[in-house]
């Protein structure tokens, strides 16, 4: 355990939080030699995942495949991870790494809510993710998209690629299959879409990525985060991704 460095958060709040962060402990994960050579197959999530802002909040979407090499270790993975009630994240890269990081952030956000008596903003969550990903950049293989809704700020999306940098965007795509949909997303993206249009955009983009990326398939999972809370959606491949939706 080492002391974490203090980062200035644009969305940081009270003095109390600052002093807490000074003692913020970052866990340096022990170097794992098997992780970077491909001798042992690590559970890599060959992800296609994305998050978008829309008029009412944010929508996260992901496929459901985790592979070890060409073997599909899990065909119904849930890559949309809750770190707080209205802040979720899409995990791509090493499944083990991203699960560990998400668990840590989830713990700290719970502590924040208890100590501050209010919900953390999405920026706070994104900052926590960044602290961990950046400080441990040599050992981690994690690409994370954070998306959430906050009553004061509406919906926001942040992207943390491999190096541990933090980028706020109106929509973010990530994972290996995302390379196939940069053009698609760039062409079809519109700011402030309705929920239905937003769902259509995410579904269309993920379908294209699934179609081309051999490491893909499975179901499409989505989570819609608005002032009403979190709503899960599911679309199955053998129903042409039309349903069951939110049933």
């Amino acid at each position: 355990m080492v002391r974490g460095r203090w980062h200035t958060y644009r969305h940081g709040s009270s003095q109390k939080w600052r002093s807490q962060s000074r003692n913020f402990n970052v866990i340096i994960l022990p170097p794992d030699p098997s992780h970077h050579k491909s001798i042992l197959h690590t559970d890599r999530a060959r992800f296609r995942s994305m998050a978008i802002t829309f008029a009412g909040g944010v929508i996260l979407g992901a496929d459901s495949r985790t592979t070890t090499g060409a073997y599909i270790a899990n065909r119904v993975t849930d890559k949309l991870t809750r770190v707080s009630d209205t802040i979720w994240c899409c995990r791509s890269g090493s499944a083990a790494d991203t699960q560990a990081v998400a668990d840590i952030v989830s713990y700290h956000l719970g502590m924040y809510a208890t100590m501050e008596g209010k919900q953390p903003t999405v920026g706070v969550a994104a900052g926590l993710f960044q602290e961990i990903c950046y400080a441990n950049k040599e050992q981690l293989s994690a690409g994370i998209i954070i998306a959430g809704h906050h009553p004061s700020h509406g919906g926001s999306v942040y992207s943390i690629p491999l190096g541990g940098s933090l980028h706020r965007q109106s929509y973010a795509i990530g994972g290996s299959g995302s390379t196939y949909i940069y053009g698609y997303c760039d062409s079809y993206w519109k700011e402030n879409m309705s929920e239905a249009d937003g769902i259509g955009f995410v579904k269309g983009a993920l379908r294209e990525a699934i179609k081309w990326d051999g490491s893909s398939g499975g179901v499409i999972r989505m989570v819609v985060l608005t002032d009403k809370g979190a709503k899960r959606l599911l679309f199955l491949p053998d129903q042409g991704y039309e349903g069951p939706g939110d049933k």
């Binding site: 060959r46 459901s64 495949r65 592979t67 090499g69 060409a70 073997y71 599909i72 065909r75 119904v76 993975t77 849930d78 991870t81 809750r82 499944a95 699960q99 668990d103 290996s176 179609k211 081309w212 990326d213 051999g214 490491s215 893909s216 398939g217 499975g218 179901v219 999972r221 979190a230 899960r232 599911l234 199955l236 491949p237 053998d238 069951p244 049933k247």
Partner: protein, 260 residues
């Protein structure tokens, strides 16, 4: 199996030390196939009492990219034998041309006897072994399915090393790990082939194609399936998987403690 040249015919590295790659230096501009580029995945086949069922999906992958989705990896020969190709697609196309020229040659001065599946398999085995011995393999594993000289069901494999083997059920690639156990439940012994019906064999193959689509990250849900009997070859090239199981995904939430 480790198909890379440095592993052929030698004991494990722990016994002999690491392979010395300086032996493999190419001398001159000749290009030898060292790794497959555009590849096809599994091929499966099962013998039944009147013939053989063989199937392969319609995908050619470029690494992890699902590049070509209309590739027919089951090729008929002589209207009586079907060869299923897994592995490099350019080598598959070369073999296709080779078999075509063989067919043309055989039709000259033929005494009315066509090459049957057994003959074709022997020919292919010799071609594959010759290429292997030139350290320039055709990077494929082939299943040859049809009838032999006595009109009995014939099914045999030949691969990039020239290794051949035969069995009532065969599968290449991922199929060897995932599909073979399922196919062997239907017919696990040559003696049982005589009691397997066409429907049993076809259903087993279709179920295995579904399992492979679930678990092989380089597979497709569209496939070709052929049934060879003494009446000829019945080849269907645009089959789609039916009755997939995905609805249970709704019950999966998170990865450990998450409940929403």
């Amino acid at each position: 199996m480790n198909h890379l040249p440095q592993a052929w015919g030698r004991p494990r590295n722990a016994i002999l030390g690491a392979y010395n790659p300086s032996i493999l230096q190419p001398s001159g501009p000749k290009a030898h196939t060292t790794s497959p580029i555009v590849t096809g995945t599994s091929v499966l086949a099962v013998k039944f009492k009147d013939g053989v069922v063989i199937a392969a999906d319609n995908l050619a992958s470029y690494g992890s990219l699902a590049r070509f989705t209309d590739v027919k990896r089951l090729r008929t020969f002589n209207r009586r034998t079907v060869v299923g190709f897994g592995g490099d697609v350019s080598d598959m196309q070369y073999l296709d041309r080779l078999l075509l020229s063989l067919d043309i040659e055989e039709n000259y001065g033929s005494s009315g006897h066509d090459l049957n599946a057994l003959n074709l398999h022997t020919y292919l085995a010799k071609v594959m072994y010759k290429r292997r011995s030139d350290i320039n393999p055709l990077w494929n594993q082939l299943l040859v399915a049809g009838l032999d000289g006595l009109d009995q069901p014939f099914l045999s494999s030949v691969d990039l090393l020239g290794t051949t083997f035969s069995s009532p059920t065969l599968a290449t690639g991922f199929g060897a790990h995932l599909a073979q156990p399922l196919l062997r439940k239907v017919v696990d012994d040559e003696a049982k082939v005589g009691s397997v019906t066409r429907e049993q064999a076809t259903n087993a193959v279709r179920e295995c194609m579904k399992v492979l689509f679930y678990r092989d990250a380089r597979s497709l849900d569209k496939y070709s399936i052929a049934v060879i009997t003494k009446d000829g070859v019945e080849l269907k090239e645009d089959e789609e998987l039916e009755n997939q199981s995905w609805a249970f995904a709704e019950m999966i939430k998170g990865y450990g403690t998450q409940t929403v």
